[in-house]
């Protein structure tokens, strides 16, 4: 959806003076500044926010959102979008809640693998029919919603048997939330993966110039399928976290995380047109969004004004973090 176009050559020359600022910006520093500014702003209203309990609680809340955002970031890096991952997380949660009793810990693996397969299916259909990912995943969003409604028999499922096998995710170790540590481990693993293996470059090359990537012998189709698979697997993992956190699952539990996850990716400075950005800064973007979701309550903003502020802050944050290197990223 995003169209990039070369700026007319003359328009480029003006930007050279601020090169240090630009270098910081290109390195992905902007989201960190936005996060710092928000933390300071919330803390200024309410100094108790700086207490360890508050900050750790924020990290814990951010965990499932971050997982979804990381998966989304991989898809967005190729210039595509996955509108179905939150819906898939809801479905996976329902399946997991059913499965934990009879399968125990194996259910976790089954759910993540099953979710990954759903992602593979999406990728295959998208690359075969050459229908834009926006529409394919929109359709799958509907399917997942319908399926989780049927699977949950329109009721929420309390997990009792087998809860022990995932409950520990939201324990703390040395005062640190295991959940977020796990997210960090997953993110670091992905970052290392993207950095140390050729696939990272291939994903970015597809986002930046898919034709050139294809003409370089990169299996673009396979990689696109792979990122959808990864996104779906992370959605499955997010479902595990949600069930661990909520001890139950409902048909629509994670649905509402879709737009925040996308916002997190973009606030993190990943270009929606693809190729620029990555996992690390998405962590930061997810924290910004997680903070915004509760920060306005902490500051005590009247509920009716909150959406207005949220919308305005998101737009401004993205204006600050957007990387416009590739010319005018509009549309």
């Amino acid at each position: 959806m995003a169209t990039t176009s070369q700026t007319p050559p003359e328009a480029r020359t003006g930007t050279e003076g601020t090169s240090r600022f630009r270098r910081l910006h290109e390195a992905g520093a902007a989201p960190f500044f936005v996060l710092a500014a928000l933390v300071v702003a919330v803390g200024a209203y309410d100094s108790s926010f700086f207490r360890a309990a508050s900050l750790i609680s924020l990290l814990e809340q951010a965990a499932p959102l971050t997982l979804l955002a990381i998966g989304e970031a991989l898809v967005v890096l190729t210039g595509r979008i996955d509108l179905s991952n939150a819906g898939l997380a809801s479905l996976a949660g329902v399946v997991l809640a059913h499965g934990l009793g009879s399968w125990g810990p194996a259910a976790v693996a089954l759910v993540v693998v099953g979710a990954a397969l759903c992602g593979t299916l999406i990728g295959v259909i998208h690359t075969t029919t050459q229908v834009p990912s926006f529409i394919i995943t929109l359709g799958f969003l509907g399917m997942f919603a319908g399926l989780s409604l049927s699977a949950s028999r329109a009721d929420s499922i309390l997990v009792t048997d087998g809860y022990g096998s995932i409950e520990w995710i939201f324990f703390r170790i040395f005062g640190l939330p295991i959940s977020y540590l796990l997210v960090l481990v997953a993110a670091l693993a992905l970052m290392a993966w993207m950095k140390a293996l050729p696939i990272g470059r291939r994903v970015r090359a597809i986002g930046l110039n898919e034709r050139a990537a294809a003409y370089s012998g990169i299996r673009t189709r396979g990689i696109v399928i792979a990122v959808f698979t990864a996104s779906a697997a992370l959605a499955g993992l997010a479902a595990v976290f949600q069930v661990a956190r909520l001890q139950s699952a409902g048909a629509t539990t994670s649905d509402a995380l879709l737009l925040p996850a996308i916002a997190a990716v973009i606030v993190g400075g990943t270009a929606i047109s693809g190729g620029i950005g990555g996992v690390g800064r998405t962590l930061c973007g997810a924290l910004v969004i997680a903070l915004l979701r509760v920060g306005l309550d902490l500051v005590g903003i009247n509920a009716a004004f909150q959406p207005i502020l949220y919308g305005a802050i998101v737009i401004m944050a993205i204006a600050a973090t957007a990387d416009r290197r590739r010319g005018a990223t509009v549309a």
């Binding site: 309410d46 108790s48 926010f49 207490r51 309990a53 508050s54 750790i56 609680s57 924020l58 814990e60 809340q61 499932p64 959102l65 409604l149 949950s152 329109a154 009721d155 929420s156 499922i157 309390l158 009792t160 809860y163 409950e167 949600q242 956190r245 909520l246 001890q247 139950s248 699952a249 409902g250 048909a251 629509t252 539990t253 994670s254 509402a256 995380l257 997680a290 979701r293 509760v294 309550d297 902490l298 005590g300 509920a303 009716a304 909150q306 959406p307």
Partner: protein, 339 residues
């Protein structure tokens, strides 16, 4: 089943002046929550609470949980929460968070099967709900009676994974059994949504035509949508409608015989807001010890209220009317316990 490590048993009860009252629900663009907020706010005002806050989940379970966790991380033990969980699946986590921080929680409407305050934690003081079965049953009966005990109806369901929606529909089914002359032609979910209800009803009206003698809706907003469709089909007054919730607009429609709207239930929002707060407040300030309260005080339905029909519609109070609320006795409205 919720993890222990509870802060229970600590004797330190809160001074009334330290208590923070927090009411959580979907959002104030919904009349029901306006009534809940009015009730809770009225309680806060009556008790000069230091701080009262309304937080909106906007239909986002994760957000609701996050908001609550953040408020607990900040406010500690003297927080009283009256929560309408966005869906029952967030409730265990809310209970866990409250239990860990030692704050006080009262919940409304939704809870997963197998989870109850009396068996979980003293900090989950009570869970109250409104029994949807008699609501659905009574309104359906009123509908059937107005149709003369025979004919066909269609039903509009609420969001399918929602307990009250299911209870109300069960009430309808129960009434149907008692009225063999009434046939249920079809039921569809309209997701509590007025426009969607209007579209579904319109489609039903073209599908079944004049066979439809009545529409039963699980909520008033859907009932109003059905009314719109009936009106546009030129069958206003001929197709009877009944629904649940007590929206002001529906009460007005019930008063007007030409609409064909026969029944709704009184609004319970203000009562749920005020009672929830007063129970939590009583626990926080040490007036009651949740562990010592009987089971009927921990999980209960509100006393069923007589439904609103044309006979009593003109005397029905406004949903946001808080003058009749009794803040003295938190158990004043208790009906039967929830199993």
């Amino acid at each position: 089943a919720v993890d222990s490590g509870s802060a229970a048993g600590d004797s330190g009860r809160c001074e009334p002046s330290d208590v923070t009252l927090v009411q959580s629900g979907r959002g104030l663009e919904n009349e029901y929550y306006v009534a809940v907020n009015a009730g809770a706010r009225a309680f806060a005002k009556a008790h000069h609470a230091r701080h009262y806050q309304w937080i909106a989940s906007n239909g986002d379970s994760s957000k609701q949980l996050s908001q609550i966790q953040s408020i607990l991380a900040k406010g500690g033990k003297c927080v009283v929460l009256n929560v309408d969980p966005n869906e029952s699946s967030v409730l265990p986590a809310i209970v866990k968070a409250v239990d860990k921080s030692g704050a006080w929680l009262v919940t409304q409407w939704n809870r997963p099967d197998g989870l109850a305050p009396e068996s979980e934690s003293p900090h989950w003081v009570a869970h109250m709900s409104v029994d949807g079965v008699p609501q659905g049953y009574e309104t359906a009966k009123a509908l059937f009676t107005s149709m003369g005990g025979k004919g066909s109806i269609v039903a509009l369901q609420g969001i399918l994974d929602n307990a009250p929606a299911q209870e109300r529909f069960r009430g309808l089914k129960k009434a149907l059994k008692e009225y063999p002359g009434i046939k249920l032609l079809g039921d569809q979910t309209a997701g509590w949504d007025r426009t969607k209800a209007q579209n579904v009803t319109q489609t039903y009206l073209t599908k079944y035509g004049h066979r439809i003698g009545g529409v039963w809706a699980a909520s008033d907003s859907m009932g109003l949508g059905a009314l719109g469709a009936v009106k546009n089909a030129g069958r206003k007054g001929k197709v009877k409608i009944a629904s649940v919730d007590g929206l002001a607009e529906v009460v007005r429609a019930v008063r007007d015989p030409s609409t064909g709207y026969v029944a709704t239930t009184p609004s319970t929002g203000a009562a749920q807001g005020a009672l929830g707060m007063s129970i939590g407040y009583a626990a926080a300030t040490g007036r009651i010890d949740p562990d010592k309260e009987p089971r009927g005080h921990r999980s209960f339905y509100l006393k069923p209220l007589p439904i609103i029909t044309r006979a009593n519609a003109s005397s029905a109070p406004s949903p946001t009317d808080t003058t009749r609320l009794d803040f003295k006795n938190p158990w004043s409205q208790n009906g039967r316990p929830i199993k």
